[in-house]
């Protein structure tokens, strides 16, 4: 029995993708999933720190269009060597802002192969599949795969707790009965 060549798809549909690096590793994401690319420096004043959420890969949140986005450190998400992220992808229809090292290039893919079933861990959520580009295999990330519903619940709770503490501090009275500054 010989391994049969992959059957050719009826019509090759090209999809624009962005190749980017996180922790030295190469990934792809559909450009249609990326709403905006921002530099880390431009977010310096807008990002609020999140502590004690239990989700180590998220340290900051952004308020945007009346919703809270969570900045996911890509190296921690993929358990890669930590590198200083320089860019953030704001992803469409998710509450994820992804911290990455750099954009490699924009290109297109004509074939996306489902992740082989041999992969049975959380990577099944992380990736839409694999694509071969220039004799290299690149995982195509799923925008929904960075934060699970449970993680979002914990992060929302941490943000709510922080907000409640800030409100309490703002409303606290001094021993003389005056509002605390």
């Amino acid at each position: 029995m010989r391994l049969a060549p992959r059957p050719k798809p009826a019509a090759l549909k090209s999809e624009q993708i962005i190749l980017f690096r996180v922790g030295g590793a190469l990934f792809a994401i559909s450009s249609a999933s990326v709403q905006e690319v921002k530099s880390v420096d431009s977010l310096a004043g807008a990002a609020a720190e999140i502590k004690n959420s239990g989700i180590k890969k998220v340290r900051h949140a952004l308020e945007r269009d009346d919703q809270t986005l969570f900045v996911v450190n890509g190296t921690m998400h993929f358990s890669l060597p930590l590198t200083p992220g320089t860019l953030v992808f704001i992803l469409y229809e998710t509450r994820t802002a992804l911290l990455i090292d750099r954009i490699e290039k924009m290109t297109s893919m004509t074939h996306l192969q489902a992740l082989p079933s041999a992969f049975s861990g959380p990577e099944r959520l992380w990736y839409r599949g694999l694509t071969a580009l220039d004799q290299t295999v690149v995982p195509v990330v799923s925008p929904d795969g960075f934060l699970t519903a449970d993680e979002l619940f914990l992060l929302d709770a941490a943000v709510a707790e922080k907000s409640a503490l800030q409100n309490a501090a703002a409303n606290a009275l001094t021993p003389q009965g005056e509002p605390a500054k």
Binding site: M1, L26, P116, S117, A118, Q135
Partner: protein, 158 residues
């Protein structure tokens, strides 16, 4: 004329020769049913990306397909083998479909015909039978059991 099945021969006499592929891992040999094997290919570049499937090393590109490389030496020999010469491309059945996987092997493979003896109760799940060849008794491997991730110690305790 009476057929063999009508005679109800004892099971040991009903065994027929089956084609198996002999493979080498380190200094040991194993066998896999030939109908589960596609081809033996020379080592090609292995592509790695983040994942948490401990028995998968990465993927190779073969005839336009992306094929996962499944590490089996650790389960069979108790240690990883760095010296590998070929990938044996095998068909692995999953719940609803079959997919090709690449098994790293350290020597050339051989196609032989042999009688397969059924596994014993004490045999590991990855043993689907035994053959006798060249004076050696050789395990016939169950590819599904061999490449199913084993629960970690923590999971097993819970």
């Amino acid at each position: 004329m009476t057929s063999a099945s009508q005679l109800e021969l004892p099971s040991e006499l009903q065994q027929e020769l089956q084609s198996v592929v002999l493979l080498r891992l380190g200094d040991r040999r194993f066998a896999i049913a030939a109908n589960q094997i596609s081809e033996l290919v020379a080592p090609s570049r292995i592509f790695r990306f983040p994942h948490r499937s401990s028995n998968v090393e990465g993927v190779i590109l073969r005839r336009g397909r992306i094929v996962p490389v499944c590490e089996v030496a650790e389960r069979l020999l108790g240690k990883r083998i760095l010296d590998r010469r070929f990938y044996l491309i095998a068909l692995r059945r999953y719940a609803s479909q079959s997919e090709w996987i690449a098994l790293p092997v350290t020597g050339e493979c051989e196609l032989i015909n042999a009688e397969i003896t059924a596994p014993g109760e004490d045999d590991a799940p990855h043993v689907s039978g035994w053959i006798s060849h060249d004076g050696n008794v050789i395990e016939v491997l169950n590819v599904v059991a061999l490449t199913t991730p084993q629960p970690s110690n923590d999971e097993a305790r819970s």
